[in-house]
Symmetry: C2
Subunit: 648 residues, 2 copies
Amino acid sequence: MGKKCKVTFFPDRKEVVVDAGTTVLSAALSAQIALASDCGGEGVCGKCRVAVKAGRITAAGRAKRALRGGAPGTVLACQALVMSDLNVEIPPEARLDAGAPGGEEMDLRCKGLFEQIEEAATPERKPPEQPAELAPVVTKVYLELPPPDLNDRLSDFERVCRGVAQKTGVEVVPSGLANIRELGPLLRSCDWKVTATVLHDPEAPRIMAIEAGDRSAHHYGFVFDIGTTTISGQLVECRQGRVLGTKVTYNRQATFGSDVIARIIYAQAPDGLERLHAAVVDAMNEMIEAFCREHGVDLNDASSVSVAGNTTMIHLLLKIDPRHIRQEPYVPVANVVPMVRAADAGIKIGPHGVLLCAPGVSSYVGGDITAGLLACGMHRSPDVSVLIDIGTNGEIALGNNEWMISCAASAGPAFEGSGMSCGLRAVRGAIQTCVLDPKTHEVAFETIGGDRPRGICGSGYIDLMRSLLERRLLDKNGRFHQETKTKRLRRGKDDWEFVVAWQKDAGVDRDIVVTEADLDNLKRAKAAIYSGLATLLRHMDMTAADVKKIYLAGGFGTALNIDSAVQIGLAPDVEQGRFVFMGNTSLAGARLRLLHRELLRETEAVAANTTYFELSTDPQYMDEYMAALFFPHTDVTRFPSARYTRQK
Amino acid sequence: MGKKCKVTFFPDRKEVVVDAGTTVLSAALSAQIALASDCGGEGVCGKCRVAVKAGRITAAGRAKRALRGGAPGTVLACQALVMSDLNVEIPPEARLDAGAPGGEEMDLRCKGLFEQIEEAATPERKPPEQPAELAPVVTKVYLELPPPDLNDRLSDFERVCRGVAQKTGVEVVPSGLANIRELGPLLRSCDWKVTATVLHDPEAPRIMAIEAGDRSAHHYGFVFDIGTTTISGQLVECRQGRVLGTKVTYNRQATFGSDVIARIIYAQAPDGLERLHAAVVDAMNEMIEAFCREHGVDLNDASSVSVAGNTTMIHLLLKIDPRHIRQEPYVPVANVVPMVRAADAGIKIGPHGVLLCAPGVSSYVGGDITAGLLACGMHRSPDVSVLIDIGTNGEIALGNNEWMISCAASAGPAFEGSGMSCGLRAVRGAIQTCVLDPKTHEVAFETIGGDRPRGICGSGYIDLMRSLLERRLLDKNGRFHQETKTKRLRRGKDDWEFVVAWQKDAGVDRDIVVTEADLDNLKRAKAAIYSGLATLLRHMDMTAADVKKIYLAGGFGTALNIDSAVQIGLAPDVEQGRFVFMGNTSLAGARLRLLHRELLRETEAVAANTTYFELSTDPQYMDEYMAALFFPHTDVTRFPSARYTRQK
């Protein structure tokens, strides 16, 4: 081709120059604009519809669809090929995270690229089984070495190694040239006072860097949970093991498809894998830069990044071809990922920095779950417990210090607020708890940070469903009782909907509602999770009563009302004292791995010892699932505490 | 500056464009012309004198010397700065290896860049203590893996690791991303039949590469001895441990100084370290390329390079600042060098290839000696033996399987043929043995390869000295008996000299002679070595009679006459059965390390257990040295078999 075209996106006024023949979706991505796209650019989902205001386009493969927009001039960005300079208007709903139109953008404008999460937003309960002693994977050791003399002629590098061994008891293995090349002048320039950065690789501990003077107080690491929908990150001060900051951002891979299957398909497109990899790594690097800027951290003082994520996310992070994850027999390229140089994965920390990825169990139970087990300490306890991690998928692990079994339920991201008409993840302005007045059906709610409401997050939806059920606004199928007298219940554009907050009270310029379609999503999500757990228990010849602890994890915010979760049939109906709400266990487990090196091998053992149970091939799972597609369940005897089933 | 000047060198007609202000020496180097320079460009040695035929130069620091050439227009290349386009004539004597003018060049023209050494030229005696079983550091393992199914869902990478463990018993540690990224499609494209290249790192064995199909028969490594004056290399087929070829070339670092001290000084100049590093790495890479071309070896099938060299050479190879080697207390940056990626040192083999460097003892007893000890098996034998390695320095190690002591004697490179009027290393055309007719003083000699003589190598000089002594042409001080009647003894240009071969019989266009200056060099070299050994023995309260084996190593060629070495006072006067002539033990030891992985740790133990004895601070060494500056020695009772001392 050769011809270059300038594409200008509105209202952002972002310009980008691309080759003629590039899709508008690619052009938007080059301009750092993330468009919604659930099908991975296949021209199927219709989410990336944009308006071409000036210029010439042509249609790719699915010509009719490409030009069959809604309004005149609208096209699917993934199917429209740039043929000349273009002006393109992006409607709010075509943006990634259209669920919180305006609000999210405003937030980004006000506060920078990343959400600032209140410390309280990720509660950190420390199960008793956790290691107490801080023993980071990377340590910085300050050494005052004796200079060589004619009686002590050990070479410079061996002198440093001896110093480390004397001070820490760790016998390091010589490794790498970078530390050695300038070592002679370095040692003599600082009077033999140096700081050695030691990587406690379980196989072969080694020196990563040697710096002049005492740098032991400057010692940082990063922790990430890479979710299909969101990426959470933390800056950790490693000497004392303190979390200095937490940020959350959307996973920009969502532009290429909302779930792992769509992304695996997209990875097979030309440059697909490269783009998916860049999307996640760029987000991590931007977060790292922002942390460093805000906390005055020098990148060279950051030596370690600990990551947990599902198996597909880890493949894409490391640019490993993921295609076989979705082909029978569903085998990933690697469950156990080697410790590698962070730079080899494109992550920009100190040049010597390492990347640790939590090992996964299988294609659909990844390192986020093994990290979660670690965070809960389930693998160390003789009591049988269960971890339910509700993200874009719902993964469940059941077991104790002798056995562990896990499964993945296709719950969808409803509880993360994704794909919902007014969904929001647990960020400021999200409705996190709510209750309906028994008489007036007025809604009392609480938002994260106390801001005007901008949307509803997972815990808010769970409270809302429980109230709607208890107030008889919703039947056991999840349909509104349309005859109920309240102006909050109304016929919306496509669907019946209930108004949770009126526009006049909201932080966005529309009413905040929950639709029947939303409720259907939520019902399917809760059914998938509950029936997954039920199937695992049945497989082990157990009941919920045999489970001593139920760890609930996921991006619900702090306010998950466990009773509400039981009332809607998401969680089993056992005494509330057995529930522990853990927040983001993937992030917590990744942090534990960074700060407690003995957990590296322990996680590998957990991953190796956890059995993967495939729900889709289990004949009883579908029955369980169908039976769970009611509120709280077809078999109401399983939920004796769900009072609304008894009355009326 | 900015101004560019074209410098043309004659008779090569090589052109190079340099910045104005560059030295002519640097310009020559850029044109790949290696000039002689013993002082490292300090303007002191006068060896780099060239003739500027056209153009303008100016003088650097030592202005007078720079322009004080011999003939009009001649300057020191290291002191003359290019100021305009130049034509420069390089006289033969200014070239590196001026010792064999014409001959060497002819050889290069005829046979490519590298000397082809006859297999016989590096004799390989296998001491009984050597390991018998082949166990290369890198192995290639062909695997026919069972494909995954629903009952065997191990991930792809773990499947390969399991295959390696089942076939070899080696539990590999996951490592690196390069092997993993394309592994999924690779395994499925070749029906799960792959070849894993396994690095048996003693700390953490790991997979270096995974290839489709059975590639186990394509498995090569390279071995190098990096000497101050010469670089020897071998191509090794690793499956059966066969040496496929051997090459020797000059170490082009010699342009920057003939000994390690001059090079360490040069390394402190701007770009000095970079240039020294490039000089050795380029030579290695060219040799590797030539081997691959000649033997049809694909670089990707070469996974390992094993190197031995003195401590300075290893520092320069790895681009480690060597300056402290020559500053009290003479401590190198590293004696034990980590196993690194060959690419990190600039060595071009397969991208995953590793570089192993034999660990050294101290600044002046390097990995060439520990490799040599390995090759002799001295460290495994209960008998006390000694290794005498005669290169540019003379290193001596004495000991057994319980203790080892070593020293470095400043012998100079006379026995390598360097710095001698007609010296040659052990290459084709070198006089390797000779004997004088008792009556006529005619010389009967043998050359390597049977070619017309081009010069004299170490073993030839030793024979020659012995004959000159026995024939009374030389006195015990190493001076000619000028009254002897033979036309072969004559007054040369600067000095008395003895004609070994007349021009009409030679492969060069001049008589091949030995001068009194040559004999003085040889005498100092043999004195340094003998007195080093004597000092070590005395330090251990031993005499030569206590030594069961004397291993002689160095670039003498195959024909070293041990009796001659004793007669001139180089080697101690013990029964000949105790001598073993080993050839290049540094190269042999490096090869052993490549092919017998258990020796990696063993070499480190040898290096750690070998005491370094500093001759220069020992009060008795100088006495020993002075006493050895005679033929065979001041104390003739030490050489009872030297018959010439008794007659007359």
